[in-house]
């Protein structure tokens, strides 16, 4: 029954996902001539306008022929034609910053050059930043067939945090009124925002960030991969109890969380201006270390400490996202909390999703192959990233990056693995428990004492933590039921082949 339901669900996913990808595209209006674009980022006390102006029309309008070396003249021209005013007629201040020329192309225009400039628009003290008259006639005052599209790209208070230009919301068009041959100003009335919408958007941003940032997740998963194993003599040898594994996974995840939260908070509040490449390289190195550890234990039992340490680097990388948003201190604190909350929620969800597979596969006959393969692939990807982030672009890094863009596929794979693992465990356990339950239960305590005693590392550590000792009870009990079961279902003696595969090999 449940199987058909699962199959139906998966079939649904299989059809829905490609359909969603195909329908995602929306029609764009075509313009015969390149138009200007004004992208507004609405902050708490100012609005940043990013201008993209086709150079040909700008030259025709400003009479400034050669852009290079004419930055001051261009700034003066732009300032003279950008005049936001309050609804009661008081002028805002305008300051034009960086100016550069880039190549561009719009639908059906062919390639052309455009001028990119940034202007900071600041309302007079006490004036409403969400309602103003945008008196803008750059180019349009002269080239009367020119059009300016004005959009809001970022508006924290309404939860709009768009990091790319394409998702900007158009607020209006500036063009000549042909009958009067004048350029009417654009009335900008932004929908009212709230702290709550900004906060919720930050939570979503945090969640998306971890979902799309393959490297953060990969680091954590690779560190968790050997969690169900015990190291001895520099190799991964034996299988720890399920509870031990879960507890280790919990500790490692928690340590990673603390590490990156601390680093995120510190670097965001101190406005630490660290270049991205050392941080990104450090992250790539952390994954490589994790991958090596998954093959041969290099810091067994200290995974949590390592996760915490490398977590610091991952936290700094998270802070780059916040830094780009240029938030005021009040909003930054709230954003930090929301962003981190989003990261933790999604991380917790993904770890929970991966957990059954990690535990079950490690105990199966494929555990070793899976671990070695997974760690090797991850190691190769990490090496590729490391080399790329140190400045040498390479196909391995590009391939690894592209995996991160297929979030849906990753989620489906994890879900399928989790379902398969749980189904396996369920089928397994039912098969075991059905025969004679009584002896299995009664022999549990003795099994508990005997089973771990043979293990070096766990036996040594167990007394330190009563919680861990308690956690070991359950798996130990199930261990004992196993021989009992195998005795009963004697004909299937081939089952003994399985432990032989696994047990002595280790690493």
């Amino acid at each position: 029954m449940y199987k058909t339901r699962i199959l139906r669900l998966l079939a649904g996913i299989a059809v829905a996902v490609p359909a969603a990808l195909l329908l995602g595209a929306s029609p764009a209006s075509a313009h015969p001539m390149p138009h200007s674009v004004v992208l507004l980022d609405v902050h708490e006390t100012s609005v940043t306008a990013e201008l993209e102006i086709p150079l040909g029309d700008l030259t025709a309008a400003s009479k400034i022929d050669d852009v290079t070396g004419q930055e001051d003249a261009l700034r003066a021209y732009l300032t003279a034609h950008i005049k936001p005013v309050t609804t009661d007629g008081r002028p805002w201040s305008v300051s034009v910053g960086d100016i550069s020329v880039t190549e561009a192309e719009q639908t059906s225009t062919g390639p052309y050059q455009e001028l990119d400039a940034t202007a900071v628009l600041t309302p007079p003290a006490g004036a409403d930043i969400r309602h103003f008259t945008f008196d803008y006639d750059v180019v349009v005052h002269q080239v009367v067939t020119h059009t300016v599209l004005v959009s809001v790209r970022q508006d924290w208070a309404t939860g709009k945090l768009a990091e790319d230009d394409d998702s900007a919301t158009q607020v209006g068009t500036i063009k000549i009124d042909v009958r009067s041959m004048t350029v009417p100003a654009l009335e900008v009335n932004l929908e009212s925002g709230s702290t709550w919408s900004g906060f919720v958007a930050m939570v979503k941003l945090g969640g998306n960030h971890i979902l799309e940032g393959t490297d953060h997740l990969l680091f954590l998963l690779i560190l968790l991969l050997p969690a169900p194993l015990l190291a001895a003599g520099g190799r991964w040898r034996e299988i720890a109890g399920a509870r031990t594994a879960v507890a280790r996974i919990g500790k490692t995840t928690l340590a990673f969380t603390i590490g990156h939260s601390v680093a995120l908070a510190v670097s965001a509040f101190t406005h630490l201006d660290i270049p991205a490449w050392p941080v990104e390289s450090f992250i790539a190195a952390s994954i490589l270390v994790g991958a090596i550890h998954a093959i041969r234990p290099i810091f067994p039992g200290r995974e949590a400490a390592v996760a915490g340490f490398f977590g610091l680097g991952h936290g700094m990388a998270f802070s780059f996202v916040l830094a780009e948003m240029q938030l005021s201190t009040g909003r930054l604190a709230l954003s930090l909390f929301g962003f981190n909350l989003g990261i933790e929620l999604v991380q917790l969800f993904l770890v929970a999703l991966a957990l059954p597979a990690i535990v079950v596969v490690a105990r199966s006959r494929y555990g070793r192959v899976f671990r070695i393969t997974g760690a090797s692939v991850t190691g190769v990807a990490a090496t590729g990233w490391l080399i790329a982030r140190l400045g040498v672009d390479n196909p391995v890094a590009r391939a690894a990056d592209s995996v991160g863009t297929h979030t849906t596929g990753m989620l489906i794979a994890l879900t399928v693995a989790a379902i398969a693992s749980l189904a396996w465990t369920y089928a397994d356990r039912r098969n075991r428990v059905v025969p004679p339950p009584a002896p299995a239960k009664s022999s549990a305590p003795s099994g508990k004492s005997s089973a771990p005693s043979g293990k070096s590392s766990v036996a040594a550590r167990k007394p330190k933590s009563p919680a861990l000792a308690g956690a070991a009870t359950e798996p130990a009990a199930s261990v004992v039921t196993e021989p009992a079961a195998s005795v009963v279902t004697k004909p299937a003696a081939s089952a003994t082949a399985e432990p032989e595969d696994e047990e002595p090999t280790g690493e």
Partner: protein, 419 residues
């Protein structure tokens, strides 16, 4: 210690259950994606190649002249269509339908009517007979000119793949796939030529021209013939068997000059370009100063969706200030656009514009070489409105191309609508 990993004995099939589920899921996912891909590929290639000329059927006008002949040809064309096709051609003469036109290569997404690329050979021949009956027969104007402009668009279709530079892999760039969604006409036709390499999905080519009858073609009542595609929007309106308006009429071309299959040089808008140049160069320095407008133009001012938006104040030099010879040059400029309609209709309209000539203004902007972006000439009369502008090439980026529009302050769409 060995006990820990001892697995219970169990029937083999059960062990593989999880694997089977996972395998089935992967297979289904794969099938889903494959199906979706197949559908995409189908959309892109499932078109017809029906743009080659077919033998003209026996006189579809049934020997009638003027609008009567046009109505006969229109009915002959309709008789070749099935009901679904008829519904595409025969639409209401509503303001909404009338103003839905464009000069852009946006196929059927921005204009009504049936795509020529959707027609079989007989239907296409019948459609062309309608156009011949509706438009002027002058050399270099009317149907002759329209054919050359459509042919230029086939050239764009062939040459644009490499030069629009929009990237050729549809999935490589999200903005490209956005454009692609505008490519297929509602009817789903992808005619000869391709869609500009798949990346930009600009629908160039003779298959992407659309014919519509707004209202029922007849000798009584009011109806309009609409024909358009890239660089072209023809609107001719008839009232009680008489042509009353030949505007709005958008006309443009890229490339401005090309060599056809027979090795002949074709300058499809030479009639307009020559007349414009002759008028501009006839002006004295003083007249030019008066005529020159303060603004710069990158396109026509009163283009599509700008119906009724004429400047309230006329600018430039008043034709009454010009010499008799120059006045004739002004009429010469107006004529090639008006000659888009059949001779009788064009003659009626020219009579009006000639009578209003002294209240008409000529405006200039940019240079008068008509070879540089922004070179612009405008005729603005009590009725007539003509704009001619040079614009940088889109496909042939080292050349300019022309955009022009002819409108009538009161007669656009037969004066049926107020804006």
């Amino acid at each position: 210690m060995k006990d820990e990993t001892v697995r219970p004995a169990k029937p083999a099939p059960r062990r593989w259950r999880g694997v089977a589920i996972a395998t089935a899921a992967v297979a289904l996912l794969g099938a889903g994606i494959a199906t979706a891909n197949a559908a995409t590929v189908g959309d892109k290639t499932g078109g017809k190649n029906t743009t080659k000329a077919a033998a003209a059927p026996q006189d579809p006008t049934k020997g009638a002249k003027g609008v009567a002949g046009l109505v006969n040809a229109a009915n002959a064309f309709l008789a070749t269509l099935d009901d679904d096709q008829k519904a595409e051609v025969l639409i209401d003469f509503s303001q909404e339908n009338a103003v839905a036109w464009s000069n852009l290569p946006c196929a059927g997404t921005c204009r009504p009517g049936i795509s020529l690329g959707d027609l079989d050979d007989d239907q296409l021949a019948a459609a062309k007979a309608v156009l011949v009956a509706a438009t002027g027969t002058g050399k270099g104007t009317g149907i002759d000119q329209l054919n050359d402009i459509v042919a230029a668009d086939d050239l764009l279709a062939a040459d644009s793949s490499g030069s629009t530079g929009g990237g050729t892999a549809p999935s490589a760039d999200p903005s490209a796939s956005t454009d692609a969604s505008a490519a297929p006409a509602p009817s789903g036709a992808a005619p000869s030529g391709d869609t500009g390499g798949g990346g930009m999905a600009l629908t160039y080519g003779s298959g992407y021209y659309y014919l519509a009858f707004m209202g029922t073609p007849s000798l009584t009542g009011t109806w309009e013939l609409g024909f358009g595609g890239h660089h072209m929007a023809v609107h001719i309106t008839y009232k009680n068997g008489k042509g009353v308006s030949a505007s709005p009429f958008f006309l443009g071309v890229e490339p401005t000059s090309y060599t056809d299959a027979d090795g002949n040089t074709v300058e499809s808008m030479k009639a307009q370009a020559t007349a414009v140049s002759a008028l501009a160069t006839s002006l004295t320095t003083a007249q030019k100063t008066t005529a020159t407008l303060s603004e710069t133009f990158g396109d026509v001012l009163v283009g599509p969706q700008n119906d009724g938006n004429f400047p309230t104040t006329k600018e430039g030099i008043q034709v009454s200030k010009l010499s008799k010879k120059q006045k004739q040059l002004v009429l010469n400029v107006i004529k090639p656009w008006v000659a888009n309609a059949d001779e009788a209709t064009a003659a009626e309209l020219m009579k009006v514009y000639e009578k209003e000539l002294d209240q008409t203004f000529v405006g200039l902007s940019g240079g008068t070489g008509y070879d540089t972006q922004g070179d612009y000439l405008r005729i603005d009369g009590p009725s007539v409105w003509i704009e001619f502008v040079c614009q940088n090439g889109v496909v042939y980026t080292d050349q300019i191309h022309y955009h022009t529009v002819y409108r009538d302050h009161t007669r656009d769409y037969g004066g049926e609508f107020t804006f």
